[in-house]
């Protein structure tokens, strides 16, 4: 059944229709950063994340919309729907296989892009586990509160900490604030550049060591600092191949496609093709270009060399996964009800 059934039919069509647009998008992605005005002659890899996401976006749109168009049971009153409805078995009458085919086609098209493109765009070859450190207590640092403590995950050997604080107005004259980093009572790194403006990134590199707590202490200066969530990150020592990261990003990019097609599957019981197409395209747009995680964050992480595998990424993808699964379950129930 699989060899000549909906899976193969939709897979072949998606590959035929999406290959050229995806390749063109990949070519545009390669060219795009080279057309950007670079700061100091260098483009930060993270800034190229939208370019990396472009081929994935195109592949997702083409595969999704072709699938809805090809398989006649995704919408009401499609030509030949009776024909397929009668012949096709399975809980979704071929729609499940069609969705699987669209996802497979997208993965086949985007996996090579995921493995090759980040390197061309300047992503690091190695990725590190990155943890956002959470402030214990008040995240403000000033003369009255000269130390802020951050908690780090246990059992990880760290080698770098990056800080990006918000600068507040001082009471007196303005003097940039100088910081020191300590862990377990001993200094991690000193001699950091003084913080004089909001968003200024400080990176402290130190001999690899394990710790579960970091203290950021005020050494000198008058500018009060505020550390919002995500302002302090630690990088582990473990070097991992960034291609694994990119492969996971390609898998993550399937989530919006799955959710859009699952919802189309459900909406198709009561709506005609234009409505179903609009629903699928809108959902894809919101979950990709709209910045809903984990799509955008995954490509940013690949470009920055931040290791993606972990609970946080799974948790970020969970709402889309749940929405898609729920839509498929409801579509199965609706199919049973409507048949009666």
């Amino acid at each position: 059944m699989t060899g000549r059934g909906p899976f193969r039919i939709v897979l072949r069509d998606c590959l035929a229709k999406a290959t050229v647009p995806t390749l063109l998008a990949a070519a545009a992605a390669v060219a795009w950063p080279r057309l950007q005005p670079a700061t100091g002659g260098v483009v930060a890899p993270g800034a190229s994340a939208p370019a990396l996401a472009l081929p994935f976006l195109i592949a997702a749109f083409v595969c999704s919309l072709r699938t809805v168009r090809i398989w006649p049971l995704f919408a009401l009153q499609r030509p030949g729907a009776d024909f397929v409805q009668r012949l096709q078995g399975g809980p979704w009458r071929g729609r499940g296989a069609a969705i699987a085919a669209a996802l497979t086609a997208q993965l086949l098209l985007t996996m090579p892009v995921a493995l090759l493109l980040p390197g061309w765009l300047g992503a690091p070859a190695l990725a590190h586990t990155t943890a956002t450190l959470v402030a214990v207590g008040d995240p403000r640092l000033d003369r009255g509160h000269p130390q802020v403590t951050f908690r780090a995950p246990a059992d990880v050997t760290w080698q770098r900490i990056a800080l990006r604080a918000v600068v507040m107005l001082p009471d007196g004259p303005v003097r940039p604030t100088r910081l020191s980093l300590q862990a377990g009572g001993s200094e991690l790194a000193g001699g950091l550049a003084p913080v004089g403006e909001t968003g200024q990134r400080l990176v402290a590199t130190f001999p690899p060591r394990q710790f579960t707590q970091v203290e950021v202490a005020l050494v000198d200066g008058t500018l009060p600092l505020y550390f919002p969530p995500g302002a302090v990150e630690a990088l582990s020592i473990e070097d991992r191949d960034n291609r694994g990261n990119a492969a996971l990003a390609a898998l993550i990019a399937l989530l919006p496609t799955f959710t859009a097609l699952a919802l189309a599957c459900l909406v198709g019981f009561v709506a005609a093709l234009p409505t179903v197409t609009t629903v699928a395209a809108s959902l894809l747009f919101v979950t990709t270009v709209g910045g809903v995680e984990p799509f955008g964050g995954a490509f940013r992480a690949v470009m920055r060399g931040e290791w993606l595998f972990g609970w946080e990424v799974f948790a970020a993808g969970l709402p889309l996964l749940t929405l898609g699964s729920l839509a498929m379950a409801l579509a199965m129930v609706a199919r049973t009800r409507l048949r009666a």
């Binding site: 000549r4 039919i9 030949g80 009776d82 397929v84 009668r86 078995g89």
Partner: protein, 285 residues
């Protein structure tokens, strides 16, 4: 003879939607169709022909009543291969070639690949589509799509064929071919229920007709019984006009009514076939 189709008090009502009132597509009807015959389903547009076929194909649940097809409920999985339904509308999956389309149908009814391929090749040839097997359905004419639709219906060698307007859009030669194939199917013991507006075609090939009118069964019976009248008529050929006039006078004297004496003419259908054959025989430049 066992009943291929049996229905008791079968009714279908489409529920009210918004400002559209509820529609009784089929009023309660009893139906029994014996195996191995061709039954014509006649009636004006909106009389319920397609609804009846969709119920029998398992695509439309009846609002009330019971129906069995080959002894099973119409939607039963086992009927997917035993009953073929040829809907009237366009075919799906128009990016496929004719051969791929038939392969999909074969896979959907669990026909082994080798068997499906052999059947597909044979049917494409039988329906005059052998040279178009690898062409995309998008490039097919309406008539070619109709033929392919029939090929898809015949592929699993069904016991019951439900055909909705199988010859609409076909040229006379195509209609004749479909008629031949349906008669072959009847000879092989297949039951055919055929909805059509082509009354001549129904008269030529059907054993029995059902006439639907606003969802009711207005008439049913064998064509010989339904079309027979008490009046006898005389059909004569080979006389010249004076002889015809003498014969007409004799018929009037005997109490008969002479309706018309006219010059013999060829039927348009016969002319079309003759010209088509002459064109086929001509060497192509």
């Amino acid at each position: 003879m066992a009943a291929a189709i049996s229905a008791q008090q079968l009714a279908v009502t489409f529920a009210r939607r918004g400002r559209t009132a509820a529609v009784a597509a089929l009023q309660p009807l009893d139906l029994e169709i014996a195996s191995g015959q061709i039954v014509g389903l006649l009636g004006p547009n909106g009389s319920g022909k397609t609804t009846l076929l969709r119920v029998l194909a398992g695509l439309q649940a009846p609002t009330s009543g019971t129906v069995t097809v080959l002894g099973q409920a119409p939607g039963a999985k086992v009927l997917r291969a035993r009953v073929a339904y040829q809907p009237e509308g366009p075919l799906p999956l128009d990016t496929l070639s004719a051969l791929q389309f038939l392969q999909y149908v074969g896979a959907a009814v669990d026909l082994p690949n080798a068997r499906a391929d052999a059947r597909a090749a044979a049917l494409l040839q039988r329906l005059g589509l052998e040279s178009a097997g690898r062409r995309s359905l998008r490039t097919f004419s309406t008539g070619m799509l109709k033929r392919l639709n029939l090929a898809a219906a015949l592929l699993p060698e069904p016991e019951l064929l439900l055909l909705d307007e199988p010859t609409s859009g076909l040229d006379p030669a195509g209609c004749e071919l479909v008629g031949e194939i349906l008669q072959e199917q009847r000879a092989a013991g297949v039951t055919v229920l055929l909805a059509s507006h082509h009354l001549l075609e129904v008269e030529a090939i059907c054993d029995e007709v059902l006439v639907l009118e606003r969802g009711r069964l207005a008439a049913r019976g064998r064509l010989g019984d339904l079309l027979a009248t008490d009046a006898w008529s005389l059909v004569v050929r080979g006389l010249d006009l004076p002889a015809m006039e003498r014969l007409g006078a004799a018929a009037s004297a005997a109490g008969g009514e002479v309706l018309r004496i006219e010059r013999g003419r060829e039927h348009l259908y016969a002319l079309f076939r003759r010209l088509a054959r002459a064109s086929d025989a001509e060497p192509r430049r």
